[in-house]
């Protein structure tokens, strides 16, 4: 038995075939992904989860549209809130509790089996290998989007309305959310000794971001700015039909940093010094990007009902304001007025006033035991050295106060572009069969077929 000795001296790794090698690695990762039970479990579960969200949402939407009773205000009936967000809520659940484990498995399985030692010696850089894994994992996530796309198709089939920009924006949000999970799963798997430890790190991180969300609510300052980048908070912007450039950049940067961290820690031949230096450099780069992104205010309101924007007339009037506006809110984080004020006023103001500063000065969490001298419930506006207090959280009242302080004339309003809503009273015909029957059946059949063909 003789092998060609000429091949022995061929230089590898940097050969012109490196592009072909990359696609071979991608193909290998696909096979590995489809060999992973955790991925098939994710596929199996995502159908019924999306189905439950969709069927419940269609039922509630029909009720709100007047099935067997009085209709709610039609203006409040948007398919984004009523159908898409609940149906795609399953993906948030999957990205939090299922997808990270698929990501962890892609790294940990090779670490524990010793396959990593072979993989690292194959042609191509480590970055290429992690890149191939990341590409396949995200491709795998796109496959899981099928039930969601089926739900969208069914909704259209029922005669439902969809507004493409807000639908695509939501899909983008869920894709970026999955990227965050993938990046974090990779990093955890590369850092931890085994899959179990990586899973604990991932769950710890998830719980930590929830805690941060809770603690930072209504606090203002650095903590609230930081909390805006937790996975749940970032997704919320997309669910509201808002595409913020800083959130987009931050989600992308954090995900890529996760993959890069995996690249730094995955190779067992690297010294601790290299790993620590690499980690510090990566952390500094990420911090710089985040600080840079935090200063970017560009955003796009993709919602059909312009829920993230003031009227065009008000936006034009507000865009004339160049002076800084400082708002001091004396409302506790759990006060519904603060939620109302955040959603209906501050979110919109932040988009149009570049020099807006908001202070949250309530000393308690609930606001139930504030004393009169605490000025609870007051909202102070400060501009041009003038101060004014207003308790109302209604958009029109707040804007009037700001116009008064800025010394500009209030905008003239017109109702010509008012959102009329899309009531639709239908039953989710066939959805149960598709999501609870057909999807699991197809998933099991696909698993069986690919399992046999291997």
């Amino acid at each position: 038995m003789r092998l060609d000795g000429g091949l022995v001296r061929r230089k590898i790794g940097t050969s012109p075939n490196s592009k072909r090698s990359f696609w071979r690695l991608v193909s290998k990762e696909w096979r590995e992904l489809f060999a992973s039970r955790s991925y098939w479990l994710l596929l199996l579960m995502i159908g019924p989860l999306v189905g439950h969200g969709f069927i419940t949402a269609v039922g509630l939407y029909a009720e709100a549209s007047g099935t067997g009773g009085p209709a709610a205000l039609a203006q409040g009936l948007t398919p984004l809130d009523g159908i898409l967000v609940p149906a795609f809520g399953a993906y948030d659940l999957a990205a939090t509790f299922l997808f990270p484990f698929v990501a962890i498995r892609m790294i940990s399985a090779e670490k524990q089996s010793g396959g990593l030692k072979l993989l690292l010696q194959l042609p191509g850089s480590l970055a290429t290998k992690v890149g191939a894994k990341a590409l396949v994992l995200l491709g795998g996530w796109i496959v899981t989007l099928l039930p969601g796309l089926l739900a969208i198709g069914l909704w259209k089939f029922y005669g439902g309305h969809l507004y493409a920009p807000e639908t695509l924006n939501l899909l983008l949000g869920h894709f970026l959310r999955a990227m965050l999970s993938a990046g974090f799963g990779f990093a955890a798997a590369a850092l931890a000794e085994n899959a179990a430890s990586a899973a604990i790190i991932t769950l710890g991180f998830t719980v930590g971001t929830w805690a941060l969300d809770f603690i930072a609510a209504g606090r203002g300052g650095f903590l609230q700015q930081l909390a805006a980048y937790t996975p749940a908070a970032t997704l919320r912007f997309f669910e509201h039909g808002l595409l913020r450039l800083n959130i987009f950049v931050a989600m992308l940067a954090i995900s890529v940093a996760g993959f890069a961290l995996a690249g730094i820690w995955l190779h067992p031949g690297r010294s601790w010094r290299f790993r620590l230096l690499g980690t510090v450099t990566l952390a500094l780069t990420l911090a710089l990007i985040m600080v840079g992104a935090n200063g970017v205010r560009a955003s796009w309101d993709a919602s059909e009902n312009r829920r993230n924007s003031f009227s065009r007339a008000d936006e034009a009037a507000l865009s004339q304001i160049r002076q800084p506006l400082r708002i001091t809110v004396v409302l506790s984080p759990e006060d519904p007025r603060l939620t109302d004020y955040e959603q209906n006023v501050l979110r919109k103001l932040r988009r149009v006033l570049p020099r807006l500063e908001v202070d949250y000065s309530s000393s308690s969490r609930t606001g139930l035991f504030e004393k009169p001298e605490d000025h609870y419930g007051e909202i102070w506006y400060e501009m041009n050295g003038q101060r004014a207090m207003e308790r109302s959280t209604i958009e029109e009242v707040v804007l009037e106060q700001i116009y008064k302080l800025a010394g500009i004339n209030p905008a003239a309003h017109s109702d010509e572009n008012a959102f009329s809503g899309y009531p639709l009273s239908v039953k989710p015909r066939g959805a149960s069969w598709i999501f609870y029957g057909l999807w699991p059946l197809l998933t099991v059949a696909a698993w069986w077929v690919q399992n046999r063909s291997r």
Partner: protein, 235 residues
């Protein structure tokens, strides 16, 4: 024969324990070099340091009198670890095909290896379902499909029966005859004596002897005796 690689002063600590102590030897082009020593003598650690899969605390590896950085080692050598279960869900056929395509080997070369290593009947089996010996033969095939000038095999005969051991020895010698250099880590001293041109003896992380059996016999000041006697005399 010229030196393909020169290993100098490789030292490795695990916590405070010195597991490799200034290990140095040379690997000559086209030879079958045996790294022998008892369990725990540092053979696998040395292989992993040489392959760049574990950072050494000191020492260098030179090729043509130039330092071979860990990141460049995979161009010069391929290391096949012992006791690994790579890609357990994939079939033998697919894994062999993956390596064959990755390294541009012909189907004929791959078929000859399969025949010699008696892998034909295992082609549809999954790696995870193979016995220790079957897995070893599959992994050997992967190693032999790689093109690097030096192939390092950790315990290549572990898990093989007598007949398979003899066949694999023949295969390795034939492979070396094509011009490829082999470095084998072996704890069975008798096997090492039968297949290797030269030996590096490792004991408690130190090189205690290097050379052909005759050279080592001279170093041990023995007039006769096999590898076992030489090893006992030198350690």
């Amino acid at each position: 024969m010229t030196a393909l690689l020169t290993v100098e002063g490789i030292t490795k600590f695990f916590n405070q324990r010195r597991v490799l102590d200034e290990v140095g030897f040379s690997v000559r082009a086209g030879e079958v070099l045996g790294l022998i020593g008892p369990n725990g003598s540092g053979k696998t650690t040395l292989f992993e340091c040489l392959a760049g899969l574990m950072p050494a605390d000191a020492g260098t590896i030179k090729s043509n009198n130039k330092d071979l950085a860990p990141s460049k080692r995979k161009e010069a050598l391929f290391y096949l670890p012992d006791a690994i279960f790579p890609w357990a869900e994939q079939t033998v056929s697919w894994v062999l095909g993956f390596f064959r395509q990755l390294y541009g080997r012909s189907e004929q070369q791959s078929s000859m290896l399969m025949e010699t290593l008696r892998l034909d009947e295992l082609m549809r089996s999954r790696i995870g379902s193979l016995s220790k010996g079957e897995r070893k033969r599959t992994l050997l095939a992967l190693g032999l499909l790689t093109p690097q000038p030096l192939l390092m095999l950790d315990e290549p005969f572990d898990g093989l029966d007598l007949r398979q051991t003899r066949d694999v020895m023949t295969l390795l010698k034939s492979h070396a005859a094509t011009g490829r250099t082999l470095m084998l880590s072996i704890h069975q001293l008798v096997d090492a004596g039968r297949v290797c041109d030269r030996l590096v003896m490792l004991s408690a992380g130190k090189v205690v002897g290097e050379g052909s059996i005759d050279d080592l016999r001279a170093q041990a000041k023995l007039s006769e005796g096999g590898v076992e006697e030489i090893f006992l005399a030198l350690t």
